[in-house]
């Protein structure tokens, strides 16, 4: 065991994967010598050489397209997109190629790539360093979407993603790289070292994709969330004393429907929390699924607490962020309804 923050855990995941499988390689803008603008790949070039950890041209479509070709050859490419906001130029290679290759070739060719990308706001990054585009990927058949919320999960999920035979988009909540930010932006954020999930095995382990974690048991309401929002939810629930069950989805697709349904059937209420814009965000799918599976158990309308349907505004960041107050009000509503 070692103490790791989220960046260190992610770094360690790649290190372990590269150590175990010489076909694993990492690349992306500033990923090689410098080790990534968030330092997630620091040291990997030194350890594994330039052929396995390298910088790339600034071309997200090329990064993903080249990764697909490498994967078709037999490598296990782990590509970094510097910010999730910059994944769109690479979307076609993800949607039309990586996601479709196994299907269209009936399994002859596959594209087991991992695309890692920091996402979400809360760092005053303005509208092009704060986006949460995860729901788009969940709409694309053939892609798995994974979002960790702790160092421990990040490492185990990333290793699982690298070992997975399918393309995986791995979004890293950059706001919690250094500590489990709970949305109270006026307070000093605790470092990960104070959090039990910063105890991370140094070696290999996996957290299976498709399994949610019930991070808090409760009986009054189910809170579905992922990434940074897990900490926001836990903070509010604890501080305001709700007997809420908080489920960290960890994998959006494939979704752990069993955990969700079991919980909502138990609590009869459901609140969905994410940072992405509301309309057609992943909360919509969650809401639809919950009402399809738990209609007769629901005692109140399912509530979505999300980013607003605007770009992420630089100076009004904290008004935009679905933080403790908004969540607290929504919890109150869902409990009273």
């Amino acid at each position: 065991m070692a103490q790791m923050n989220m960046i260190q855990a992610i770094n360690s995941a790649m290190d372990v994967a590269m150590e175990r499988d010489e076909n694993v390689c990492v690349f992306g803008e500033d990923v090689g010598f410098y080790g990534g603008v968030f330092r997630a790949t620091a040291g990997l070039q030194k350890k594994y050489g330039k052929r396995r950890a390298f910088d790339t041209p600034i071309n997200e479509g090329g990064i993903i397209g080249v990764a697909v070709g490498m994967a078709a050859y037999g490598l296990k490419p782990v590509a970094e997109i510097q910010f999730a906001d910059y994944i769109y130029p690479g979307l076609d290679q993800l949607v039309s190629e990586a996601a479709r290759l196994r299907y269209r070739s009936a399994g002859e060719f596959t594209a087991p790539i991992v695309v890692r990308s920091p996402f979400g706001g809360g760092i005053f990054g303005g509208q092009t360093h704060s986006q949460s585009p995860e729901s788009m990927f969940t709409h694309v058949s053939g892609i798995k979407t994974v979002i960790p919320s702790t160092p421990y999960d990040a490492k185990g999920l990333l290793i699982a993603a690298i070992e997975d035979p399918d393309p995986v988009v791995f979004f890293e909540p950059k706001r919690i790289y250094n500590g489990p930010f709970d949305g109270r932006y006026q307070e000093i954020v605790q470092p990960w070292s104070r959090h039990p999930a910063s105890e991370v095995p140094e070696g290999h382990y996996v957290i299976p994709l498709g399994k949610a974690a019930t991070v808090r048991e409760g009986s009054d309401v189910t809170v579905l969330c992922y990434g940074t929002m897990v900490h926001v939810a836990l903070g509010v629930v604890e501080r305001e004393g709700y007997d809420a069950e908080v489920i960290d989805l960890r994998t959006l697709l494939p979704l752990d429907i069993e955990a969700i349904v079991a919980s909502v059937k138990k609590t009869g209420r459901c609140l969905i929390l994410h940072e992405a814009t509301k309309t057609s965000g992943f909360g919509a799918e969650l809401s639809a699924l919950v009402q399809e599976h738990c209609f007769h158990h629901l005692e109140a309308p399912i509530v979505r607490v999300t980013g607003y349907d605007t770009p992420y505004p630089h100076s009004l960041e904290w008004a935009y962020f679905p933080g403790p107050i908004r969540l607290g009000e929504a919890l109150k509503r869902v409990m009273e309804d």
């Binding site: 090329g62 397209g65 697909v68 070709g69 490498m70 130029p89 290679q93 060719f109 979704l255």
Partner: protein
């Protein structure tokens, strides 16, 4: 800042919109196309610096002269047996195309695309590559599969989406995939294969392999962002890849000017990226072979990528959905100054005394027969729209390696629906 007043003297700007020289009703006249004599373009050493060969992007590598003689430094000096094999692969490609096109017209499938007039581009290249070099083709390089002796039957099964279709009826006809044939799964999205080929080549290089990659796209597709991605990555990492641009003058109804073909050659893109570039006569199988071999040698010796522009002509419509008489002159195809690749290679072989009209006629018959036999077999396995050739549940397979719950659920739903449909159909009968 320059004075504002100065400007008022200026004539107004105007938007230039390219226009092909000939439209329906015009008598296409290609006499202004500059065609260097066969043998004229120099052949640099493969170890030469790409900067010393920029001129090759503006030339036209040609081996076969007007009489069908192979001349000049690019003559690949192939033995007669290889030449005959190449000729046969081209002829078979043409026969196959003809039959499948007709099959579509007969309603046996939904769609087809010929490569008439461009057979050399794919076939001669395949002969210059190793069997295990990986090809990332567009939809117009069926000739590669045929050159690699891939079973026509397998190809037809795909075109018919029938029971034996290895792709389980999932792909539009002609979107083949043949890993064993070194033939990457064709995508409907133009140019996406380009960076993939570069990635495959980079992987091969990173692993110290000796296999290289080759990819093809149309001149129209070079406008896509993926073309740029591929060229940048290929240039930066000196990827062992051959980037073929098949300039057949048309992209559906748009002439090559809409891909930038008026301003310069497509081979000149290579100059822009600091890549070796060759512009070659795509209807000259020997030129295609020689250029491919040269580029392959460069790739295999870590000299990096080569862009080859194959100057050719799309003799037929874009696909079975297209009617070229709507947008181009009727005589373009017949008057194309670089002739027909099969006729030219035939003439060459005849000139060598290694071929004659009788053998050619016999070969054509043989090809037609081979296609006929395969067609019969294939049609036994079904044609599109006549019966359900794929078990319904296969629709949910291969989305992921393992089927997740939501797909299993949907699969069950669809099978239940099918039972209802059957019941309803029975009711209807009763």
């Amino acid at each position: 800042m320059a004075k504002q007043e100065a400007r008022s003297n200026l004539p107004p700007l105007d938007l230039y919109v390219p226009e092909p020289k000939f439209r329906p009703g015009d008598d296409a006249d290609f006499s202004d196309i500059v065609i260097p004599a066969a043998g004229e373009t120099r052949r640099p050493d493969i170890a030469d610096d790409h900067h010393t060969m920029r001129d090759l992007s503006y030339g036209l590598v040609r081996v076969l002269d007007g009489e069908g003689k192979a001349v000049g430094p690019w003559d690949p000096r192939l033995d007669a047996e290889t030449l005959r094999k190449m000729l046969r692969a081209m002829a078979l490609t043409r026969a196959y195309d003809q039959r499948m096109f007709r099959a579509q017209r007969q309603g046996k499938t939904s769609f087809y695309m010929k490569c008439l007039g461009e057979e050399a581009v794919a076939v001669a290249a395949a002969f210059a590559l190793d069997r295990d070099d990986m090809c990332f083709p567009s939809y117009r390089q069926q000739g590669i599969l045929i050159a690699r002796d891939w079973p026509l039957l397998d190809m037809m099964n795909q075109v018919y989406s029938n029971k034996q279709d290895r792709l389980k009826g999932r792909q539009l006809p002609i979107m083949y995939s043949a890993k064993e044939g070194g033939f990457f799964s064709i995508s409907g999205n133009l140019a996406t294969q380009y960076p993939q080929a570069v990635g495959w080549a980079m992987a091969s290089a990173a692993k110290g392999d000796t296999r290289i990659a080759a990819t093809w796209c149309g001149e129209g597709s070079t406008a896509e962002g993926d073309f740029h991605s591929a060229c940048i990555f290929a240039s930066v990492y000196k990827a062992p890849v051959i980037l073929n641009v098949v300039n057949n003058q048309w992209a559906i109804s748009s002439f090559s000017g809409f891909a930038g073909g008026e301003a310069t050659t497509f081979a000149a893109r290579a100059v822009g990226y600091g890549i070796a570039g060759l512009r070659i006569d795509g209807n000259d199988a020997l030129a295609v072979h020689a250029a491919t071999q040269w580029a392959a040698e460069r790739a295999r010796t870590n000299q990096g990528p080569t862009i080859i522009e194959h100057f050719t002509y799309r003799t037929e419509g874009h696909s079975t959905s297209d009617d070229p008489s709507q947008y181009r002159s009727a005589n373009e195809a017949t008057d194309w100054p670089l002739g027909d690749p099969i006729a030219r290679l035939k003439q060459h072989l005849v000139g060598l005394g290694e071929w004659d009209e009788e053998r050619h006629a016999a070969m054509d018959l043989e090809c037609a027969e081979q296609v006929k036999v395969a067609t019969k077999q294939a049609e036994k396995f079904g044609i599109l729209g006549h019966g359900l050739h794929q078990p319904l549940e296969t629709m949910f397979e291969d989305v992921f390696a393992q089927m997740p719950w939501h797909l299993r659920e949907q699969q069950a739903e669809m099978l239940a629906e099918y039972e209802v449909a059957k019941a309803k159909a029975k009711q209807g009968e009763a």
